[in-house]
């Protein structure tokens, strides 16, 4: 992951086109899987490719102007661009705002994937438990648990997205987790 920041810093200082292209190619091969996961978890599968491509183009366009200096800042910046592109997609579709993947869709994906790689019973139980936690959560808690634990967004990224402070997000997440668990047990 340190490799990502090295590429970003070098890209910002580079003026030659061929060097920029080679740095950008290496960088996008590293960040593409996470950003595609983020896009595909937020938009219908048939729109995932187009939205991912828009995200990559927007990041490439602004990369020279990215002002941060840490990996955390870089990912937060990438996710901000991704969120904007996902929102643009929903605006064009006149659909609802950005929502996490609904539980039924999640389980359908997991069940469907069993044909390629079967889950061992213990893992299946763990995933069922995780699904129950999400299902029992209030919508605002579902959103937080999904973003932090499933997508992997840091507290700071969620705080910036929802205009909350870091500690509010941390405390709210802990409460949401406790609440969901208490509803299961």
């Amino acid at each position: 992951m340190a490799e990502i920041m090295k590429l970003v810093r070098t890209y910002r200082m580079t003026t030659a086109l061929d060097q920029r292209l080679s740095l950008a190619e290496e960088l996008f091969r590293l960040i593409a899987p996470e950003l595609r996961f983020y896009a595909f978890s937020a938009v219908p599968p048939d729109a995932g490719d187009d939205v991912s491509q828009e995200i990559f183009k927007a990041i490439a366009t602004s990369l020279k102007r990215f002002a941060g200096d840490t990996l955390g800042e870089f990912w937060a910046w990438c996710y901000r661009i991704a969120r904007n592109k996902i929102s643009d997609h929903f605006r064009k579709q006149s659909a609802d705002r950005l929502q996490p993947m609904p539980p039924e869709e999640l389980w359908r994906l997991i069940d469907g994937s069993q044909q390629q790689s079967r889950l061992v019973p213990a893992d299946r139980l763990d995933l069922e438990y995780a699904m129950q936690l999400l299902r029992r959560s209030r919508p605002d808690c579902y959103d937080l648990l999904w973003k932090h634990f499933v997508i992997g967004l840091a507290y700071a990224e969620i705080a910036s997205e929802q205009n909350l402070n870091y500690d509010n997000v941390r405390i709210k997440l802990a409460r949401c987790l406790d609440e969901a668990q208490s509803l299961i047990s």
């Binding site: 595909f40 995932g48 997991i110 889950l119 438990y129 995780a130 634990f149």
Partner: protein
């Protein structure tokens, strides 16, 4: 059976890993995505060159007598 927070967190993270794996297999990154990003890099570079080109003639147009006199050389 009730679980503690740590295992609830780890189960949710496991769900994330499983979904990453599923999405990476069912929708793998495509060459066209990378090429689209590289296309945007080329466009940005061309815009920068254009801005540089527009700045340069403006500097060249300043007549030599309008330029500020050079500082005298200390060695002279």
């Amino acid at each position: 059976m009730p679980k503690n927070n740590a295992s609830a967190e780890s189960n949710l993270q496991k769900l994330g890993q499983r979904l990453r794996h599923i999405i990476a297999n069912s929708h793998p990154p495509k060459e066209v995505d990378i090429q689209a990003a590289l296309g945007a890099v080329r466009e940005e570079w061309a815009k920068e060159q254009e801005v540089q080109r527009q700045k340069k003639p403006a500097l060249d147009l300043i007549k030599p007598q309008e330029r500020e006199p050079e500082e005298p050389d200390d060695n002279r």
